[in-house]
Symmetry: C2
Subunit: 157 residues, 2 copies
DNA sequence: TATTGTTATACTCTATAACTATA
DNA sequence: TATAGTTATAGAGTATAACAATA
C-alpha cells in the first residue's frame, strides 16, 4: 500500500507525519449518508398511508412534468440505471398509476404517462411532500435552503 | 383532502390561488437523494476492489474509534435500527473483520472490537475514502465544506 | 454499431415482529 | 417493565449481464 501524497482538507489539525485522514465526522460522505437516512425515514413515516416511496413519487412527478417521456429520459433525470428504472416503473404500472405507450418517432422507445389514478396519487403525494419538506426546511433560513440545494446540485450534476 | 394552510418557502413565484408546491427541483429532499445516489455510486466504484460498502466502512471506523462499543451504541451513532445493525455486523464478522465479546458490566450487552484483519481493512478503506472524499470535496471551497457538513448535521442530528 | 427496453439474478439496506436473556 | 441481542421475514433500491428489437 503506497502512502498517499496529498491529503485534502484535513479539517482537524495534523501532527507532522500523521497519515490518518482524521475523524469520521469530517467526512462529507458520512454526513450525506446520515442526512439521507434521516430524510428517508421521515419520508417513510409521512408516506405510510400513501404507500409510496421517494423514488416512486419522484417518478410520478417527473412523468407528470414530462408527458411521453421515455424510460431512458427518466433514468437520466433520476440518475438511475435502466434496469433500476424498469423495476420502479413496473411497480407503478402494476398499481395502475402509469401506462406504457409506443413512441411514434422511435420504435425502440416507449412513452410513459400517468393515469387518472396516478395523477390523483401524485396530488396526494404533493400534499405529503409539502409536510415532509416543512420538516426538512424548518432547520434552515430561506437563503440557506437555496445554498444547500445549490451545493447538493454540484454533487449530483 | 384539505387544502394546506401554509406553503413554506416557495422559491418559485406563485400565482394567486396556486396550490401547487412548485417544481421538483426546489424540493430539498429530491436533491439529498440525488446527491446521496451520486456519492453512493462513486463510493462503490472506488471500493470495488476492497468489496466494502459505505455502511461497512463506517462501522469499522466507529468500532475502531470506540473499542468495546455495544451494538446499540453503534446503532445510535449510525442512526440505524437494531436489526439493521445486526445484519451489517454479521457480514463483517463472517469476513473476520470484527469479533463479538461479552460486556463485563452488563450481561445483556456485547462488546465489538476489530480484529487485526479488520484494522488492516480499515486502513485500506481510509486510503480509498481519501480518494473518494477528494472527488466529493473538489466541488467546494474549504469554507463551503464546513458549511455543507454543518447543514447536513442539522438534518440528521 | 449503438440505443432502448426487457428479463434474470444477486446483494445491500431497511424495517417490523416476535422471541430470549438480562437489568 | 425496559433494554440488548437475535432471528425470520419482506420490500425496495441498486447493479450486472445477456438478449431482442430498432436506429
Amino acid at each position: 500500500m503506497t502512502r498517499p501524497k496529498e491529503i485534502l482538507v484535513p479539517t482537524t489539525p495534523h501532527v507532522e507525519g500523521d497519515e490518518d485522514i482524521g475523524e469520521i465526522n469530517n467526512i462529507v460522505g458520512f454526513h450525506i449518508r446520515l442526512a439521507h437516512g434521516a430524510t428517508y425515514r421521515h419520508f417513510t413515516e409521512t408516506f405510510s398511508d400513501l404507500e409510496l416511496t421517494q423514488k416512486q413519487v419522484s417518478v410520478l412527478w417527473l412523468v407528470d412534468d414530462h408527458p411521453d417521456i421515455a424510460q431512458t429520459g427518466l433514468a437520466k433525470r433520476m440518475r438511475m440505471d435502466r434496469a433500476t428504472t424498469m423495476a420502479i416503473i413496473n411497480r407503478l404500472q402494476k398499481r395502475g398509476f402509469l401506462v406504457r405507450g409506443k413512441s411514434k418517432t422511435d420504435g425502440r422507445k416507449q412513452t410513459l404517462n400517468l393515469t387518472d389514478e396516478g395523477r390523483q396519487a401524485l396530488a396526494s403525494a404533493k400534499v405529503a411532500i409539502q409536510e415532509h419538506e416543512k420538516w426538512l426546511q424548518s432547520r434552515f433560513k430561506k437563503k440557506e435552503v437555496e445554498m444547500l440545494i445549490e451545493m447538493l446540485s454540484r454533487i449530483h450534476e
